[in-house]
């Protein structure tokens, strides 16, 4: 009886142990979007080649060990450096990645705020001109030169 109890207990431990120890915490396919293939310099999710395959295998192994997303990223950085991250760490010069796009959008909005009223004023001025208008009146000097030219062609 004691032997049977021991065998049952060992069987339960054998079944439950590995499952608890290596529960995946990260979706491999989602994780691929957050890291780069360090040789081809594209997202790992679209990268092909031996290095990309090797990197994927490393990630699969880390996921199988039950590591979370940050732990896997830290492990990859220790092997490949910061360039393995699709989004660089938010410190130092890397902050430009986050602030430059915002700055560009603000600049574009500011330009539109300045340019739009001008365009509207210009469009209104054009619309206010009488139909068939040929533009500003000729000066006396220009009118005289035009008459002279036309007279020359009439001869």
């Amino acid at each position: 009886m004691a032997l049977l109890t021991l065998l049952t207990a060992l069987t339960l431990v054998a079944i439950a142990g590995p499952a608890a120890a290596a529960q995946p915490k990260v979706n491999f396919y989602d994780f691929q979007d957050t890291v780069m293939c360090v040789v081809c310099r594209t997202s790992l999710s679209v990268a092909n080649g031996p290095q990309a395959d090797s990197e994927r295998q490393t990630i699969r192994n880390l996921i199988a060990q039950g590591r979370d997303e940050q732990q896997i990223k830290d492990a990859l950085v220790s092997q490949y450096g910061d360039r393995v991250l699709a989004l660089p760490k938010d410190k130092g010069f890397n902050l430009a990645v986050y602030f430059v796009p915002i700055g560009v959008v603000v600049l574009m909005v500011a330009l539109l705020l300045v340019a739009l009223p001008r365009w509207r004023r210009s469009a209104r001025a054009k619309a206010a001109q009488p139909a068939g208008s040929l533009g500003p009146e000729l000066s006396d000097d220009d009118a005289r030169r035009l008459d002279e030219d036309l007279a020359r062609y009439d001869r």
């Binding site: 360090v38 090797s54 092997q79 450096g81």
Partner: protein
């Protein structure tokens, strides 16, 4: 004044882009510079860096091999041509050791575990370091793998091999250095 603003900005942008293009065209990578210098018969001083050892604690650098011939070999476990080159490196390393010279492997774009396994699998016994950030490979202008740089006893680069080394390269570029005076 205002009517010159837009053409002025456009001109400045065009000039800047043109300058960038000229800079890009004229600027050579370090690898090209090395190849050009070697082609002219120059012997550029080898770039040194202290990097973590592969499969061991501590660091290693070219300075540790001062006065010896060193062949810097950039490799990775996933690189098939590196595997093709491994038997020749293994034979040559035995020859180099007799003269106090050595290969110094540089594992690049690879995990420590995989690189160590690669060395074991191919029976490679040379010391190796890890270029985790890729800055050392960049300094040498390494673009593919394997690439090897032969450094003489005075710490100058005297030859380089882009791609798989062959027997002829070993005989013509490495072996003559072993008997050369410092």
């Amino acid at each position: 004044m205002r009517r010159y603003a837009v053409p002025g900005v456009v001109t400045v942008v065009c000039v800047a882009l043109l300058a960038l293009l000229i800079y890009g065209v004229t600027q050579q990578g370090e690898g090209d510079k090395l190849a050009t210098a070697l082609g002219k018969g120059e012997k550029p001083v080898a770039i040194d860096a202290t990097l973590p050892r592969l499969g061991a604690t501590g660091t290693n650098s070219l300075a540790d091999y001062r006065g010896k011939v060193v062949v810097l070999n950039f490799f990775a476990s996933w690189c098939a041509p590196c595997a093709d080159e491994a038997p020749l490196i293994e034979r040559t390393q035995r020859l180099l050791r007799k003269s106090g010279a050595t290969f110094l492997g540089v594992s690049w774009n690879d995990t420590e575990q995989d690189s160590s396994a690669f060395l074991r699998q191919h029976g490679l016994i040379y010391p190796a370091i890890r270029d985790v950030t890729g800055s050392y490979a960049k300094a040498y202008g390494v673009k593919g793998m394997p690439e090897s740089f032969v450094i003489d006893k005075r710490g100058r680069i005297v030859a380089l091999s882009r791609g798989v080394m062959d027997e002829r390269f070993v005989k013509s570029q490495i072996e003559p250095l072993l008997s050369a005076p410092q």
